[in-house]
Each structure stands twice: as structure tokens, then as C-alpha cells.
Symmetry: C2
DNA sequence: CTACCTGCAAAAAATTTGCACTTCC
DNA sequence: GGAAGTGCAAATTTTTTGCAGGTAG
């Protein structure tokens, strides 16, 4: 059966090889934000005739076609998720690396207003919150996390 | 004369070698967000007895001490700026790569509220706007930019 | 004096690419 | 049939590290 991502590929006129079909299926089923290595692992479990190089080439292609979106949650590897109609953002639990999605209309609007105030038209946004569960481990016991993308917290591949 | 960053280093008990002093001075004078390569170039112009390895080791150390902050504006290289008391964010002009700093108290507050709503305590934030000057090149003529960190726009090292 | 620094070059880690060989349309 | 896709391994790019000397405090 044709997966959602595969359908999108066909709609945009991509040549559908066996490899691409498998990767599309894996992406359609993913409930998380896998990196390329993980994607490759899942795809080659379904069909061994797939290489990492092709996985890289495919995600890049799908990103260019607007079918996938690349994310960076720190940890030095790109992560991917299917484009969705609803704009959403991510909160990364710095203790566990777990990724939580959320929406916020007020924020959407505020960003546009900020860009306009500076004389710009918004093209894209990067917005990630790194946070710690309330009532978690005592502040004292935990080493201070870094600004931006914490280097030490390799985010788990979870949505 | 002792630079601002050098003073901070001494305050935090860092052993001040010649190399560190030079890098500290370069950072104090920087009006932009240099990457390590650029930092190394500027430092070794002042004193040739500095290696890239030391530059990497030094920025990492200063980041751990909270003296520097690492940023990622896309383009695959980390960029650095001295920590400032006022929280601020960055807007990257996708046409020119130029980086514009801005503050927004409303946004500061909104982020904290969002984290709290999800049951988290904010640790750090990544927030960058990628945008295009109003009244710039016609939409049609410009290739569609990607979400997240545009791959093609190597940000210039400018504040 | 000695723990910490540094330079050099080699190692890592993630991603891209050249090339000869398939494969979709 | 021909343009486009693929695998493999080598190349790239950015950052880190091991080791044999230096150097600050």
C-alpha cells in the first residue's frame, strides 16, 4: 500500500525507486524525529539493498521538496520529521533528551511582529526550548547546562 | 592593558597563558559573532604562536566558564559571542547572512510560560529568525528557503 | 616544582561525492 | 534508451585528542 510520504513524492514528480519507497514508508510510520543513521537502520531492516549514502541523498531531496524538515536538537546530528500543516515547536528535556512537541499561536504571531518591526519578512524560524522537569533532581546536584544546544545531552530519538 | 574577557578569566581562576590573553583580547574587541577559524585568524595575526587546537580548547573552556556563548546560525560552524547580561536574540538576513541582534521582553516571558505550561523549568533557549528584507528581491526570483537553518546561506560574520 | 597548557599531526564523526553500474519511465 | 538513481569507498569538513615538550603560579 502506498504510504503518505510516497504519495507526496509521486505528486511532486519524483522517480520512485525501491529504496525511496522503503525510506518513504519508514518516514510515514515514524512517530519520532530520527536521524539519518536511525532512518538507515530502520530502512535496511525492511530491505537490505539500501546504503547510508542513499539515505542521506534521499532525505536531502525530500527536504528540498518540502516533504521533510530538518531539525537540530543538539548532539551534532541532523534529525528529520515529515512536514506538517500545523506549525509546531519542540521542547527538549535536558535530563532525558526526550522531545516534546507543542504549538503556540501567540508565539507564531509574536515572531512575525518582531521581524516586521525590524523591517523583515519572516522566512523561517528556529525555536527550541531546553528545559528540565519541574520537581526533578535538586538544582545543586545537576551540572550547569550550556546555552543554545547543550553538548552533553544527546537527545533520544523520541517524540 | 587587561581586556574585559581577560579580567573575567582571571576572576574565575583560569591560568592565563600568552595564547589565552591574545584570544581574550580578540574576543573583547569583536563586534560580531566569529567562528573558531575566524577567531584563530585574528588571534594569530596578533601573535603567531597560537594554534587552531588551542583556539578550540580555549573557546570550549570559556564557554564552560560562562564567559562565552556558542551560537549556531546555520552553515555548519559554531559561532561565539561574549556572554552579556541582557538576554538577546538574532535575526539572520537570508540574502546577505548578516546577523541582527534584538531584545524582546514579551518573548522572554512567553517562553517561560510555555515551559511552565508543559511542566518544565526553562534551562536554555534557541531562538533565531531567518528573514528577508521587506521590499527586497521579488518573491518569484528567489529560491525557496528551507526551514530551520537554511543550508545555502552561509551567514557572514557580522553583528 | 608540578599541574596544567600548547603544538603538531593524527583521529573522530557526520555528511558529501566521483565513478562505474543499475533501474525507472 | 537515456536520464536519473545507487553502492562503494574515498574525500570533505569541523572539531577533538594523544603525546612530547613548555609554562604559569
Amino acid at each position: 500500500m502506498e504510504s503518505r510520504i510516497e504519495r507526496l513524492c509521486v505528486e511532486r514528480g519524483l522517480k520512485m525507486t525501491g529504496q525511496r519507497r522503503v525510506i518513504a514508508r519508514v518516514l510515514s510510520q515514524a512517530e519520532d524525529h530520527p536521524n539519518v543513521e536511525e532512518l538507515y537502520r530502520r530502512a535496511s531492516a525492511l530491505d537490505a539493498r539500501i546504503s547510508v549514502a542513499t539515505t542521506y541523498r534521499t532525505v536531502r531531496l525530500l527536504e528540498e521538496k518540502g516533504i521533510l524538515e530538518r531539525r537540530d536538537f543538539g548532539g551534532g546530528r541532523a534529525r528529520y520529521e515529515p512536514s506538517e500543516s500545523r506549525r509546531h515547536y519542540h521542547l527538549i528535556d535536558v535530563e532525558t533528551g526526550k522531545v516534546i512537541e507543542f504549538e503556540d499561536a501567540e508565539h507564531d504571531q509574536l515572531m512575525r511582529a518582531i521581524a516586521a518591526r525590524l523591517g523583515f519578512d519572516l522566512v523561517s524560524v528556529r525555536f527550541e526550548l531546553f528545559a528540565r522537569k519541574l520537581g526533578g533532581p535538586s538544582r545543586q546536584a545537576v551540572r550547569k547546562p550550556r546555552a543554545g544546544a547543550p553538548r552533553e545531552a544527546e537527545p533520544s530519538i523520541t517524540r
